[in-house]
Subunit: 413 residues, 2 copies
């Protein structure tokens, strides 16, 4: 089976946005053994889209379209394809009800052009959109499958995972089961990780091992093919053990776990409470933890003390300590952790201080960060980072390193 | 002049990397008035690349290729195009010397396959590569221009800016200048915005008006073409005024401005200080503000008071107020704003409380958010939101609405 990915949208041709959908879809198709020979981008122009379809249906069995399902008059993907494959558009009751509810919930008025989003090809498989309004759809015509997906990645990606992959697996009739396990790393770069497990990487074919660096972690995806999920998993287990033996210290979680979900799980399961005092991160550490539902029983809260005066006035940081060691110091990070723990009466206190940039802070170079963590009556533990990114990359990485060190600390208790 | 961008590389079709080159090149071409109608991606396969060229040369005047100029046997862009346009490859002395020097400098041994990188089309304009080894090239054949560029963005981007744009300006003889202005909206959906300015949208051709919804704002890009930048801007000004007359209340900034940069600018320029008390957002509002360099003079800090007990103990919120009106209430948001302003001694206090989800909070349905803002001695102003997203979408939108309302308040002072 060969697929072609066709993105529709003039904003792509004007260079206003990047076609990340093509990468996402291509990597998922590779995972289920479907080849992609071409990716195409065309504007919101019916005649040119029509020509693109004419070319694509001769060289691929599956055409996957992204974009142009929305309510505005620029959105003409459905209309153009329906003419091309000679089908009609009908309103899908389920989709229309969902759109109406969406407007009711948000207290906004539904305009007529929004009804257009509920139109689907007659007889198509409707692909539910759990993150937005326009549903996707899949239909077969003269041996070619047409799959239409919304353009916004946060709508398209879950739809692809939950709806399109099962549809395609059914269509291809492939009986092998593919199982993946993702190992998630922090505190190690992709190149170094790959270098350290090179000998394992080189000999592997089933499972395959695919390294990938995303914004919030470096990951290794182990993917095995077997006659059952169990058989596939049994192929993964010994290879995972080999990897853990070499670089296990950097693994903080698996599969969908994130730094915040893993930290929240450890806190909630053990009934530990936590508070944080943040300077350079200005609330990012607490905000990341609060991503997780149910964190209310553990996260008491904390303070942002952005300047020296507030550290002294609000958190009783000793000004002689600041005079002697500076704001960006091990001593200040430890004092922030200890003082917020006492003030909020929690089991755990976390302190963050540093020079995010663009200028050095209190004599310390940009990228210097100190993190303090104290657990119950124990002495605070401190960590130093030397980051090399932009101001906001440094702030985000500081918050995430604090989560990573917190996980390491709590894992040992 | 119409251009087509053709990326060559199987790693793109496998979804291992994103085609950021297409976005970069498209936006630069838009800036010099060259239309892009198609972007295409094809693998390292001579037969399929040949077919792609055959299609592209019939629908575009300029074909811009990225990738496949390197030393390995996968790299076959030059060889394939040279056959297609019936030209020969010759070694470019300048490029060869540069490659040799590159190896000498790095103390590595130059292997024979590296010489391949110095091959260019006979009679082509050679485009120097200052960041890598393979030079680019441009040649005209039967009225179509073929421009070949390296794949790595850090090599391609400077080559495009320094070599390709001057080449294209010479080739097109286009003296028109294109100028854009982006209007940035918050608190209004893309469909509603388009609906409300429909009559303006329909009559416009120069400037064109392109709506686009991104994660953090809805935007309108007004793009005009004129004989000078001034002339183009003069075409934009009256249309912008027309739009502002209809939906100006939702415009928070222009061009590269974000909610946080605009809010920070207003605070810093006026020397106002600010503190926040956050519940559902748990630090996101302060963290967003702290994105902006120089905010230290205005952002004193604030508190995250995640549960009821902390609101009472740390911020002196009256427990009878919470008993009577609830945590998710106008009264609580106002009290959070007033109390944090007093505690931190700032000009402005902001309070955020709400039910982020997934469960209702203190009797209020998921998505209910109250925001309080108080300015100096004035009565606090409050805002209610009914959001319909996921837990974290709601939290982020609550923080951003708070920035939006803050901008509205400060704009009036």
């Amino acid at each position: 089976m060969k697929a072609e990915i066709i993105a529709v949208g003039s904003e792509l041709l004007l260079g206003q946005i990047t076609n990340t959908n093509a990468k996402f879809i291509s990597s998922k198709l590779a995972g289920i053994g479907i080849d992609v020979y071409y990716q195409t981008v065309v504007g919101d122009n019916p005649a040119r889209l029509d020509e693109v379809i004419d070319i694509a249906r001769k060289r691929a069995d599956i055409l996957i379209f992204t974009g142009g399902l929305g309510p505005t008059k620029d959105d003409m993907t459905k209309e153009t394809i329906s003419k091309h494959i000679d089908t009609t558009l009908v309103s899908d009751k389920e989709a229309l009800r969902y759109i109406q509810q969406y407007f009711e919930r948000s207290g906004r008025v539904m305009t007529d052009n929004n009804k257009k989003q509920a139109l689907v090809f007659k007889g198509a498989t409707v692909l539910a959109n759990r993150k937005g309004m326009a549903p996707g759809m899949a239909v077969e015509h003269e041996g070619v499958r047409y799959i239409l997906l919304p353009g916004p990645p946060h709508e398209m990606e879950p739809m692809f995972r939950d709806e399109v992959i099962p549809y395609l697996l059914g269509a291809t009739g492939n009986k092998d089961v593919i199982t993946s396990r993702v190992l998630k790393f922090y505190g190690i770069g992709e190149a170094e990780l790959e270098f350290r497990i090179q000998s394992i990487l080189e000999k592997q074919t089933n499972p395959t091992i695919a390294p990938l660096a995303t914004a919030d972690a470096v990951t290794l995806r182990l993917t095995a093919k077997g006659r059952s999920a169990d058989e596939a998993l049994q192929l993964i287990t010994p290879v995972e053990a080999e990897i853990r033996a070499v670089v296990g210290e950097f693994i903080f979680g698996i599969d969908d776990e994130t730094l915040s979900s893993k930290a929240a799980k450890l806190l909630i399961q053990n009934g530990w409470t936590i508070a944080a005092a943040e300077s350079l991160t200005a609330g990012l550490f607490m905000a990341e933890l609060a991503n997780e539902p149910g964190i209310g029983s553990s996260l008491a809260g904390g303070m942002v003390v952005y300047n020296e005066q507030m550290k002294i006035a609000q958190l009783d940081i000793d000004h002689t300590l600041l005079d002697e060691f500076g704001i960006v110091s091990e001593e200040c990070a430890a004092a922030l952790a200890v003082n917020i723990q006492r003030k909020f009466g929690t089991d755990i206190g976390v302190g963050l201080t540093g020079a995010a940039g663009p200028s050095p802070h209190d004599g310390e170079p940009v990228g210097t960060v100190w993190i303090g963590i104290c657990f119950k009556e124990e002495e605070p533990v401190t960590y130093k980072l030397l980051l090399s990114g932009s101001r906001n990359a440094n702030r985000l990485r500081a918050a995430r390193f604090a989560l990573y060190y917190l996980i390491q600390q709590l894992d040992e208790k």
